[in-house]
Each structure stands twice: as C-alpha cells, then as structure tokens.
Symmetry: C2
Subunit: 225 residues, 2 copies
C-alpha cells in the first residue's frame, strides 16, 4: 500500500505482536505455517489436498486471509478442517495483530498444525512476521521461472518452496531446472517440492515434511519442558 518513513514504528508494533503470537504457539505446541504466493498460484487447492493428505496424521486448522469474500474459507470448511476467515478490506497483507485478533475463534489447543493462507501477493506479506514457525512460498509453473530474481525477499525467507501446477509444464515455457537453480541461488536452504495440487502429485512428500516439522517442534518443547 502506502510506503512511509515511519514504517519502522509500525513494524516495531508488528514485531511485538508477532512475538506474543509466537509465545502462544510455543505454549500450545502448535506449528504455524505462513503460506504465501501470487494470486492464483493455487494456495487454497494445495490446502485442500494437504488436509486430505494429513487426515489421521495431524490435526490441521486454517486461517484464511483475503481482501474480500469468504470463498476460500468455505472451500476449507467443506474439507472438514476448522477455519477462520480474515477479510483485510483492501489491505494487501496480513499482520500479526490480525492473527492475534482471531485466535480466540479457533481451538488452537486441539491442533497440531495451523496454516495461515496470506493475501495473494508476492511483495508485501514478506515484510510482516505473523509469529509463524515456517514460511512457505507457492509458485505456479504458469507464472514463468523468473520470480525468485524479481521477488527475492519472499524467496529468501522461505523454509519451503512449492512449485505447483507441474502438470502444466508441457504447455508452458517454464524451465524447472533454471527455476530451481535461481531459487537455490537466492535461498540455498529452502526445501523445494514439485507438486500438482490439481492431480495430487507430490503432495505426500510435502505432507511428510509438515509432519516432520510438527514432530521437531513437539520434541523441542518436550526437551525444554
């Protein structure tokens, strides 16, 4: 939205609220994932498939961020996962205060994993810590392979990158190895997954990664506790 020099104060306030969220998630042994992408990369379809893939393995809840409409929340609800919708009413990203404002509406004590689907935007969401444990970026093969170089911040911060719509590769000019090379140059530590949320391909490895992250967090908690 508007960029101003007083940004540091606003980000300072966000940091405080993010820390508060992080402490709460820690206390409840809840792994929280901030899921980010361009509009239309397939975040919601990935979430639908992730709910199916994790059935019987993890208890998953969702916070849906959208400017307007509750379409995505309805889709998640139909998959049987608890979900709460945030409408930002025009704001281009979620912030930590929006998350803390809805935490009372979801039974976080009963969950192992909570995924926050951010507003579709490759720029602004990257600047706002929500208190999450992991940041995950989704990119669709239909978007072309120049995105890591053009939007480096969001890729640099990612713990995982989901390359979605791999079923479309034969019909596009997407160069998978070039994308992987560029993404690894920006962020050598990010785990990359090739998936098609539409066909279900690759979703198991991604689900396994989430299970491993949840187990790590619980193990760390038990060590401390």
């Amino acid at each position: 939205m508007v960029q101003v020099k007083m940004g540091s104060n606003i980000l300072g306030a966000n940091e405080l609220l993010a820390r508060k969220n992080r402490n709460l998630f820690e206390e409840r042994e809840l792994l929280v994932v901030n899921l980010m992408s361009s509009p239309g990369s397939g975040k919601t379809t990935i979430l639908e498939r992730t709910i199916e893939a994790l059935k019987g393995r993890l208890k998953l809840g969702v916070i849906e961020g959208d400017l307007y409409t509750d379409r995505d929340a309805q889709r998640i609800e139909q998959k049987g996962a608890p979900v709460v919708q945030i409408n930002t009413e025009g704001a281009c990203h979620l912030d930590a205060g929006m998350i803390s404002g809805v935490l009372a509406k979801i039974e976080t004590r009963e969950l192992d994993l909570m995924v926050i689907e951010n507003v579709g935007n490759l720029v602004c969401p990257a600047e706002f810590d929500l208190g999450e444990d992991c940041r995950v970026v989704v990119i669709s093969t239909a978007e072309g392979n120049d995105k890591p170089m053009k939007y480096p911040l969001i890729f640099r911060q990612a713990d995982a990158i989901l390359i979605n719509k791999i079923d479309l590769i034969p019909y596009t000019d997407f160069n998978l190895s070039q994308f992987q090379q560029d993404a690894a140059q920006i962020n050598p530590d990010a785990q990359m997954f090739e998936v098609s949320a539409r066909t279900g391909k690759g979703m198991e490895k991604w689900a396994d990664w989430l299970v491993a992250r949840v187990e790590e967090k619980k193990a760390g908690y038990n060590k401390k506790g």
Copy 2:
C-alpha cells in the same frame, strides 16, 4: 506495504504529480496505458506481442516497473521499442513521482502510445494514479476465475481486461464464461479480450483497440486545439 492513516496526504501528493503527468501527456498527444496484473500473468510477453502487432501503425514506448532486475526492459529493447526501467527497490507499486522522474529519459514527443508495465501485484498498484489514460488488467487462465470477486478494486477501475493464456484453458479448471460474468458484474464497462501472448491469438483485436484509443485521444486534442 505499510498501511497508515496519513495515507490521504500521501495520496494527495500522488494526485498532484499524476495531474502533472496527465497534463504533459495531453500536451504531447500521447496515450498512456497503465498495465497491471499478478506476477507471472504475462504482461511482458503481451507487450512483446503488442510491439509486433503495432509495427507500422503506432510508435510505442515502454516504462518497465520491477522491484529489482532489468530483465523485462531487456526483453522490450530486443523488440526494438524505446524502454526505460524503474526499479522500485522493494516497493510494491509504481507511483506518479516515479513516472515523472523518468520521463526525461524517454522521447515521449516521438511516441503515440506509452505503456507502463506496473509491478506484479493485484492490490497496491490499483491505489496509485500515474496520470494514465487507460488502465488495463491482465489475468491468466491459470490463476482461476475467482479473481474479480477477490480483487475488486483493480477490476472495477479497468478500461480493458486481457484474459491471457487462453491456450491453457483445456488443462486448467478455468471457467471462461463464469469469469466474464463475474468481471462484468464488478465492471460492466470494461472491454474484455481473450488472448494468448504465447501463441499470438487474439492480439490483433487488442492492438486495434489501442489504435482506436490513440485516435480518439488525438481527435479530442485536435478539437480542443
């Protein structure tokens, strides 16, 4: 980026600079198009095809907006059109001041049409008038058909909507008639074009529309002058 209540002052300053740009474009009989979309919808490929389609009909110049890199400007230059790159260094949109800051670098007096390719973002660019005559939104069929309802502002302001990557429709769940219906509900006046910048399909009608807008602007100028 950061949303603050003092936004009205900042937008006020932007409006003044946008008016200054608009007056200059009027004086030079130059039609200016602000081209907006999600990252990876195909704006630059559309521009490459548009340059080809307008060859011998209009003199076209381009301002490229990107956070980082001059990849898109290089692509435009290879097509033989004059181009100037703006790097916003992290800012999520172009503003009128950025445009006025680069106008000396492009021979606007020799052009009929100037296209400004905005930063890939469906939210923030919609809030900043650059002084343009027309706003054009590109949407790719791979993004799904729920975008007009989820990002209404940018669609509401559009003079034209380019539905790009129509060659991918058979491989996606995109519902063209539903998209057209939703877009027309948000904005009944926008002209819609079905195109594939990759194959070239539909580019002629779009080029004809641009030529008609340029002729309209020149006719209006002659009437006044």
